[in-house]
Amino acid sequence: MTTRDLYQRDREWHPPALAPDYKSSVARAPRLALLSLQSSASELTGPTFGHGDIDPIDNDLIRNYAKSGDPIGERIILHGRVLDESGRPVPNTLVEIWQANAGGRYRHKKDTYLAPIDPNFGGCGRTLTDENGYYTFRTVKPGAYPWRNWVNNWRPAHIHVSVFGTAFAQRLITQLYFEGDPLIAKCPIVKTIPDQRAIDQLVAALDLNATVPFDSIAYKFDIVLRGHRSTFFENRPEGN
């Protein structure tokens, strides 16, 4: 079990807690500074998951809630790698996703948008990366949906993504957007991120090479988690 420190998180790259155009951040952002904490075992360990925790169908949103047929919508394959900042794959880590259906409606008791529920679509999936850090999902492309921020705000099509890594301090939740969506540039949640390059990194690219002809189109989305420091001199460096 390695307990090497992590690279410092770049808090100018991530969104700040307080981003007033995203209104609900205003009362939910700490006003005092975060306390910087050098990592101990509490931060450098984290939960692990195995194939006993999930079922093989869990990564197939076309099938994992199908009742009477397939969900309606644009069939997509979503795939990519989980890497760390040094470019090393993160194997056997849990990736979880959730999303609205093709019409922008979530299967959640708190969602009251008038677009209908799809009886064959749940909207969540999970998988473990393989030994090379690869993951794959099959789903339908989610629709945009309106939300109560400004009077006329619409979220771009997006899929929520949750990843663990090997350390509790690597824990990350983000959102994936789709190449070419004109709503991305207008979204106050996207724009909580100050650096356009960080936004671009959240936009999944159309990947024709990974499509299944006459079946599903594909998007590629790589995820980067914090990297681990080498312990030069103290132990044998494990390479950067």
């Binding site: 790259w13 807690a17 700490p30 910087s36 299967r107 959640h108 949750s162 909580t192």
Partner: protein, 199 residues
């Protein structure tokens, strides 16, 4: 110019949004899809140590409970060992997901009281739970810790609590015992604001 370092940048965080339960706790969103929902049982049946209940609320800057928060817990077992870094009881995961009641915002979970863990430079840390909060309006998950008010001596020597310059703020991380129940409110902003960490 100099050589490029060629590190990748970490994927930027985004809010988990109000419907986080769909992905991470679909039963709470209102539908059953997975044979096994993850994070429902922190300790497993074989865990040693004192069985405890932790309860409280997450409160926003207006004083209102945050009813759509999701909290993840990460803790050592009663002997101070984290799963993956030593032997723990069969079934002890040390990790869990906690969702408050949608109506009241009150959360509650069962676990065992963790033992002391070695911190940096082999200094022991007082027993604590590591907590990570995500919700609508929270752009990047918030890290905090919960300590126990019946561990006064250990808390006084804890290297992390002692980093908090304003000593009265240390109390924001200490849960109040009432029998085997510990009360722990988390205040995101304003009076009594909980200490959050940059890890």
């Amino acid at each position: 110019m100099v050589q490029a370092l060629n590190y990748l940048k970490e994927t930027a965080s985004q809010t988990a949004g109000p419907y986080v339960h769909i992905g991470l706790a679909p039963g709470d969103a209102g539908f059953d899809i997975y044979a096994r929902e993850l994070g429902r049982d922190i300790t497993g049946p074989n865990a040693l140590g004192k069985r405890i209940t932790v309860t409280g609320r997450v409160i926003d800057g207006t004083g209102a409970p945050v009813k759509d928060v999701l909290i993840e817990v990460w803790q050592a077992n009663a002997k101070g060992v984290y799963p993956g870094s030593g032997d723990v009881e069969d079934g002890f995961r040390g990790w869990g997901r906690v969702i408050p009641d949608f109506g009241t915002g009150a959360y509650s979970f069962e676990t065992v009281k963790p033992g002391a863990v070695q911190g940096r430079n082999d200094r022991p840390m007082a027993p604590h739970l590591n907590l990570w909060l995500v919700a609508r309006g929270i752009n990047i998950g918030l890290n905090t810790r919960m300590y126990f008010d019946d561990e006064e001596t250990a808390n006084a020597a804890d290297p992390v609590l002692n980093l908090i310059e304003q000593t009265h703020r240390r109390n924001t991380l200490i849960a109040r015992a009432e029998g085997n129940t510990y009360h722990f409110d988390i205040r995101l902003q304003g009076d009594g604001e909980t200490v959050f960490f940059d890890l």
